[in-house]
């Protein structure tokens, strides 16, 4: 019988810190608002944190784990004991996080995830690094062998073959390309600016007349009045926005570098392992057979640089949680030429080459156009209330734009059924390509709205496990009805002919 193991002797510190961190922000808010309002008792609300910290302390002292032959056994609690058995075969992902503080003490936080999703089933906060290695080896070696034909033959070295390695240049590029955070930061700055929080600073620097609050508002107001805004104001607005955007992009690039420093994706046997992070090191292990769908994403900037990003969905992990633990895409950035190789490694046997791509129904363009035309018209009516018939100008522009978008979007729609996977692509500027193995399909559903029936079309939805993100689903619109029926039938047969493994 394997012996019980404890966490690292100092783990109670990390447990308490982890609990208190959740209290930090609300706590600060309470303290500050109380201070502003002159309250005296509000800060005492923070006393509530003490029992929570105490609970964490006791739990971490009572935490024992044991590596049995088939299960990982976790016991917690002194008074109310809880023993949890996690079969190795059920483990979806082992994630290890090492922050700077962790590294100082040579310890690591290990999160073990199963299909249960909501709670992380076993979070070991914290164990020595050697113990983490042991757990990982144990889970990998004692898992029942997968019946994958090809994977069993080759026996790669324990560290695994490198699938993707991202040098600093690529990371910074990824920060530049994927600057959603930059947009957010810029928007945040804009709001702060408009609210006049920078008034005094800017006023001191460039004088009250041009800096003052709401330069943007003044400009817009001037535009709407039909008068040309003063050159100075307009120039300042544009320059201000440009500077904000540039600063935000720079932050995004630095952040990408810090977050993803030393990104390496390896394949070891049937597992994918990713490691990254400059200050907080993250190591995550994804068993290949847990991968439900794979999505390749290309924004306009991605295409400009010939890159793409690859995400995978695993069963059980829902999207919100992924955001919370900061899980990164499988490949934050990758050269398009390397995509085929990556897919080959991640979904062995699934080939992107030689697919027979099928288009959307011919009438799709009109339906898409009608949809945006209705929206444009509604918008115009609202604008017409405010600005009179001048609003018809933007309407013409909107309609032209809608037509271009509808043409491009419906042209981008496509699906292909390969020998063992279904592929679906869509998007004009932001393109996505999602692939799911037949063995990972759960339910195939054919949807026909009244509009579909009038135009002889159907929508096909392929449901998979863990498809929490709307954007990564296989949901094929505007299929010709007959084609949809055939595909529905074929996929149903394929799904029932394969066995689903969690």
């Amino acid at each position: 019988m394997p012996s019980d193991r404890r966490l690292h002797p100092l783990s109670f510190l990390f447990a308490i810190a982890g609990q208190l961190r959740q209290f930090l922000i609300p706590g600060l808010v309470v303290v500050f608002t109380a201070g502003a309002a002159g309250g005296e008792w509000e800060p005492w609300l923070m006393v509530a944190a003490i029992p929570i910290a105490l609970g964490a302390f006791v739990r971490s002292l009572s935490y024992r784990y044991r590596l049995d032959d088939t299960d990982l056994v976790v016991r917690t609690g002194f008074v109310f004991r809880k023993e949890r058995h996690i079969p190795y075969a059920r483990i979806q992902n082992i994630e290890a996080i090492q922050s700077v503080v962790h590294r100082l003490f040579r310890v690591i936080e290990v999160r073990i995830e199963t299909g249960a999703g909501k709670e992380d089933d076993a979070t070991m906060r914290v164990v020595p690094v050697a113990a983490y290695e042991e757990i990982r080896e144990c889970v990998q070696s004692r898992r029942p062998a997968v019946a994958a034909p090809a994977a069993g033959v080759e026996q790669p070295e324990p560290s695994g073959s490198v699938v993707l390695r991202l040098p600093a240049r690529e990371l910074i590029l990824s920060g530049f390309v994927d600057n959603r955070s930059a947009v957010l930061i810029a928007a945040g700055f804009g709001v702060v600016w408009e609210l006049g929080l920078f008034d005094r600073v800017a006023g001191l620097l460039v004088g009250e007349a041009v800096s003052g609050r709401s330069v943007l508002r003044q400009t817009l107001r001037a535009v709407f009045r039909g008068a040309a805004p003063s050159l100075q104001t307009a120039g300042l607005t544009v320059a201000g926005l440009a500077i904000l955007f540039a600063a935000a992009t720079a932050i995004s690039m630095i952040w990408a570098y810090v977050r993803l420093h030393g990104f390496v994706l390896r394949r070891a046997g049937d597992d994918l392992r990713a490691e990254y992070g400059l200050f907080t090191r993250v190591a995550t292990t994804i068993p290949l057979r847990r991968i439900q769908t794979l999505t390749i994403f290309e924004g306009p900037l991605h295409r400009l640089f010939g890159r793409a990003a690859v995400k995978v969905e695993t069963a059980g992990a829902d999207a919100q949680e992924q955001g919370a633990t900061g899980r990164e895409p499988l490949a934050p950035i990758i050269r398009r030429a390397e995509l085929d190789r990556l897919i080959e490694q991640v979904l062995p046997g699934v080939r992107a080459a030689g697919l027979d791509w099928q288009p959307a129904a011919p009438g799709a363009f009109w339906r898409e156009l009608r949809k945006s035309a209705v929206v444009s018209l509604a918008l115009t009516l609202v604008l017409a209330q405010a600005f009179g018939w001048w609003a018809l100008g933007p309407l013409a522009l909107l309609l032209a734009l809608s037509a271009v978008r509808a043409r491009r979007f419906t042209g981008s729609l496509g699906w292909a059924a390969g020998s063992d996977a279904i592929w679906f692509r869509r998007g004009w500027l932001w393109r996505r390509l999602t692939v799911a193995r037949f063995s990972k399909m759960q339910i195939v559903a054919l949807h026909r709205s009244p509009f579909d029936r009038r135009t002889g079309m159907s929508r096909l939805r392929v449901d998979t496990a863990g498809a929490a993100r709307e954007s990564d689903r296989i949901d094929i619109p505007y299929l010709p009805a007959a084609v949809a029926r055939d595909l529905h039938e074929r996929l149903s047969i394929e799904a029932s002919g394969t066995r689903f493994q969690w």
């Binding site: 299909g115 339910i443 026909r448 149903s492």
Partner: protein
């Protein structure tokens, strides 16, 4: 619509369902006939009764709201509007709960065959959902108090999916729901790794 005739014809095909004796359970599942069936016709009445209960409940709430308006509102037209709206809404609800079950009944059908079950439903927004047997995680058969009176039961099929994590089928006879459950559940005691 166009399937209405075929569906009402297939109502009759459901009648000779064999009783769930030990013999029929052992024989190859008779439910997996690959024929499209309508729900049991009794479900229309069942839905009408549930709809009526909901109507009475909602109408009661609306009546209370109207009463409060009469007593409390300052404006003259608002209580009058409410007094007109209340019977109209109640009548609409009552009509809906009477008419809709029959309409939706005409558009709902299922087919069980060896690989799994296919469900069609939806009057305006139509859906055809295929659940392969190989993807069924577990199945609930439930029977509410009114359903028990009618001898009906509901089947809830759970999969590992996201949108369709649960697919429900109401309005089967309880026996038939049990038979379908036995057919769909995985036979071999496999390790569900």
């Amino acid at each position: 619509m166009h399937t209405a005739d075929a569906d009402s014809a297939s109502d009759q095909t459901q009648a000779p369902v064999p009783a769930p004796t030990a013999a029929s359970a052992a024989a190859p599942a008779p439910v997996a006939d690959g024929v499209r069936h309508s729900l049991n016709p009794r479900v229309v009445l069942l839905e009408r009764i549930t709809g009526l209960i909901a109507t009475v409940f909602l109408s009661g709430i609306l009546a209370i709201g109207t009463g409060i308006l009469w007593l409390a509102a300052d404006s003259a037209w608002l209580p009058r509007l409410a007094a007109v709206a209340w019977p109209v809404l109640t009548l609409l609800l009552a009509w809906h709960s009477y008419a809709w079950p029959a309409i939706s009944y005409r558009h709902e059908s299922y087919r069980v065959d060896a690989p799994g079950i296919e469900i069609r439903r939806g009057v305006f927004w139509r859906r055809e959902i295929t659940v392969p047997r190989s993807r069924v995680q577990h199945i609930d058969v439930s029977q509410g108090p009114i359903e028990r009176r009618f001898g009906l039961g509901s089947l809830s099929i759970y999969t590992a999916g996201t949108d369709y994590a649960m697919v429900a089928l109401r309005g089967l006879t309880h026996e038939r729901a049990l038979l379908i459950r036995d057919h769909l559940l995985p036979k071999e005691a496999q390790d569900a790794v």
